[in-house]
């Protein structure tokens, strides 16, 4: 009897292990599909660089002449981490929102009727978006020498990790939004009403200190603010900024005069990601 029990017990155990194995295999497959699709759409890769580069050079040079240079530090350098964030955010949202296309072309159904957990599908999708967005954002770092931003190996590693967190949070958010959109037209609305305001009001393009109260409030509510600031923080940390420049282009988000530590900001982004991962999984399972 005991032997049988052990056998049954171990069978159950291996069942559980198999189950986890299958879930992982599903996650990996959904992830792989995202990458294959991404590599296949050359125009998408190219177009996702055009906008940030345009912002970096047009806005960067334009504003530099207006704002001027403080201790050898100019607006271009200030905005650079913001532009990298912008690339990551746009790519992540675009990737997540491709679910709307999947619905339009029917492939979403293939996924939803399969005997797999919604969690595995959403997680795979989110990881795919995270990978793509992180790659895109990291490629943007190649422009750093052009505008005089100093890079170190450690900095690149830090940036990649922060990009990945930002991308994961934004992809889960995007999947949640996409699961609410039934029609292609809704996509434009999301871009206009969600994506652009989120980027513009995140401190990606202007310093967060000294803003009028209403704008300060909005930027503090915007979760993206807490994803962009740590990135800027680590980039600025290795730029040998003179104190005057550091004061002018300050990093850190203050609420009621208290500066939130970087680890706290990362915590906020993690919580945001977890909440939207949960909401995305819930929303994803509603077929037709």
């Amino acid at each position: 009897m005991a032997a049988v029990d052990i056998l049954v017990g171990s069978a159950r155990l291996s069942d559980e292990r198999n189950k986890i194995g299958f879930e992982l295999r599903t996650i990996a497959m959904v992830w792989k599909r995202e990458l294959i699709r991404f590599m296949r759409t050359k125009t998408r890769i190219l177009s996702s660089f055009v906008q940030p580069i345009l912002f970096l050079f047009v806005l960067g040079y334009g504003m530099t002449s207006l704002v001027g240079t403080t201790g050898g530090f100019d607006f271009k350098k200030f905005v650079f981490p913001g532009i990298v964030s912008m690339t990551v955010v746009t790519t992540a949202i675009f990737s997540a929102i491709s679910i709307v296309w999947d619905r339009e072309f029917g492939f979403l159904r293939e996924m939803l009727v399969a005997p797999v957990s919604r969690g595995a599908l959403v997680f795979g999708k989110a990881l795919g978006g995270t990978t793509i967005a992180t790659i895109q954002g990291t490629i943007m770092l190649a422009l750093a020498p052009l505008i005089g931003v100093h890079l170190t190996v450690l900095l690149v590693i830090e940036v990649i990790l922060l990009e990945a967190l930002m991308a994961f949070a934004l992809t889960t958010f995007g999947v949640f939004v996409a699961s609410r959109i039934q029609k292609m037209e809704g996509f434009q609305v999301v871009m206009q009403l969600v994506l652009f305001p989120m980027i513009f009001l995140s401190g990606a393009l202007f310093p967060l200190n000294g803003l009028p109260v209403w704008l300060a409030v909005i930027t503090r509510i915007n979760p993206l603010t807490y994803a962009v600031d740590p990135l800027r923080h680590v980039v600025f940390a290795v730029q040998n900024m003179p104190p005057a420049a550091a004061a002018r282009f300050a990093t850190g988000v203050t609420i009621f005069g208290n500066t939130i530590p970087v680890i706290g900001e990362i915590g906020i982004v993690v919580v945001f990601a977890v909440i939207f991962l949960g909401l995305a999984i819930r929303g994803f399972g509603k077929p037709d």
Binding site: M29, R33, R37, E110, V113, P115
Partner: protein, 361 residues
């Protein structure tokens, strides 16, 4: 390949076509349990019903589908076909009754059911930006095809639908018919016990439909899968072993195509002769049931085609014209529902292709 094409293009021979492929279906009629892998019926439906608010889409229907059977649900749009298929695939929850697919309850064990079924929807569900192979690989993972079998299965299902050459091509380059056939292949990838096809040929041109049917019959022959399909094309139902005619959410008739036709009436052989009166009296003496019309003699015969020679012999007069009429499914549908199945203009042009081998007139 050519072999199976030939066997299919000989036209519908609905009875006893593939009985040799159904060893278990005929013999094993024991009580089925979820643990028994040789459960006798593939689909067991008991009084299943679906209400959407006040509207009863499916009004408590019961039927069984045997293993290896090609079972067709025939009815007009809105008759409850798709609702039934959705309930059997666990995509819609029945509001009453029960159903088992491959021995698993659709309400109690939906995941087990989904793993054992293949699904082909009316609408395409392929990823256009992936190749045929990649679409299949994706499916293989989702349906837990063991890693070491994936390659072999992909090869074999692509061969079944004759798409081996397009394996590495993007689905976006496929024609509508090829895409549909790839979906059928994908539905078979995880060796399901039952393949559900919801209006599989909708929107396809006649030639592609014919090809698709050959594929479907080949699947059953080579893989022994049970096929459950819905259609509102009479001609397609002819391919099925058994047909359930569904109208307003109830099954109004369920039998083999031949039996259904016999219920409607026997075959008739119409003769135009040089002397109709003489011919008819000759035939009556030989024991045929005859009616003399204005210009012809109508002989009622159970199996008109095979009796044509003996009828002509018995008539004993020169024959100018012979026409065998076998009741078709249009007649059957009309008989059971009191109306003709609705067909759009696009569908009307189609049936002639199949009719050419289906019915000799």
């Amino acid at each position: 390949m050519t072999e199976s094409y030939d066997s299919a293009s000989n036209g519908p021979r609905p009875e006893n076509r593939f009985d040799d492929l159904l060893p278990n279906a005929r013999q094993n009629t024991g009580v089925s349990t979820a643990l028994d892998k040789n459960v006798p019926v593939a689909i067991d439906v008991q009084g299943i019903e679906k209400k959407y608010g006040e509207i009863e889409a499916v009004k408590g229907i019961s039927f069984q589908v045997e293993r290896g059977e090609v079972f067709a649900f025939l009815g007009p749009n809105g008759a409850g076909k798709t609702t039934t298929i959705r309930m059997l695939c666990t995509l819609a929850r029945p509001t009453g009754g029960s159903a088992k697919v491959d021995g698993f309850d659709v309400m109690q064990q939906p995941t087990a059911v989904r793993r054992r079924i293949g699904l082909v929807f009316q609408e395409p569900t392929l990823d256009q930006q992936l190749t045929a192979e990649e679409n299949l690989q994706f499916h293989a993972v989702l349906y837990r095809v063991p890693r070491d079998q994936v390659e072999e299965r992909i090869e074999s299902v692509l061969r079944l639908v004759d798409l081996q050459d397009r394996r590495k091509d993007l689905v976006s380059t496929f024609s509508g018919g090829m895409a549909r056939r790839l979906e059928i292949a994908r539905g078979m990838l995880h060796t399901p016990a039952v393949l559900f096809l919801d209006e599989p040929t909708i929107g396809l041109d006649p030639q592609t439909r014919a090809l698709m049917w050959k594929d479907v019959l080949r699947l059953r022959n080579e893989e022994g899968v049970t096929i459950f399909l819905t259609t509102h094309y009479m001609d397609e139902a002819e391919y099925a072993d058994r047909i359930a005619i569904i109208d307003h959410g109830t099954i109004v008739a369920l039998d083999t195509p031949d039996h259904l036709k016999k219920m409607v009436g026997s075959d008739t052989v119409e003769l135009t002769t040089s002397n109709n009166t003489l011919a008819s009296s000759n035939l009556e003496t030989q024991g045929f049931s005859v009616k003399v019309g204005d210009e012809n003699v109508v002989v009622f015969a159970d199996n008109g085609e095979s009796q044509v020679t003996s009828i002509i012999e018995a008539a004993g007069v020169p024959i100018q014209n012979v026409r065998v009429h076998r009741p078709n499914l249009d007649d059957v549908f009309l008989h059971f529902t009191g109306r003709q199945i609705r067909e759009g203009p696009a569908e009307r042009s189609f049936p002639m292709h199949f009719r050419n081998f289906g019915h000799r007139r």
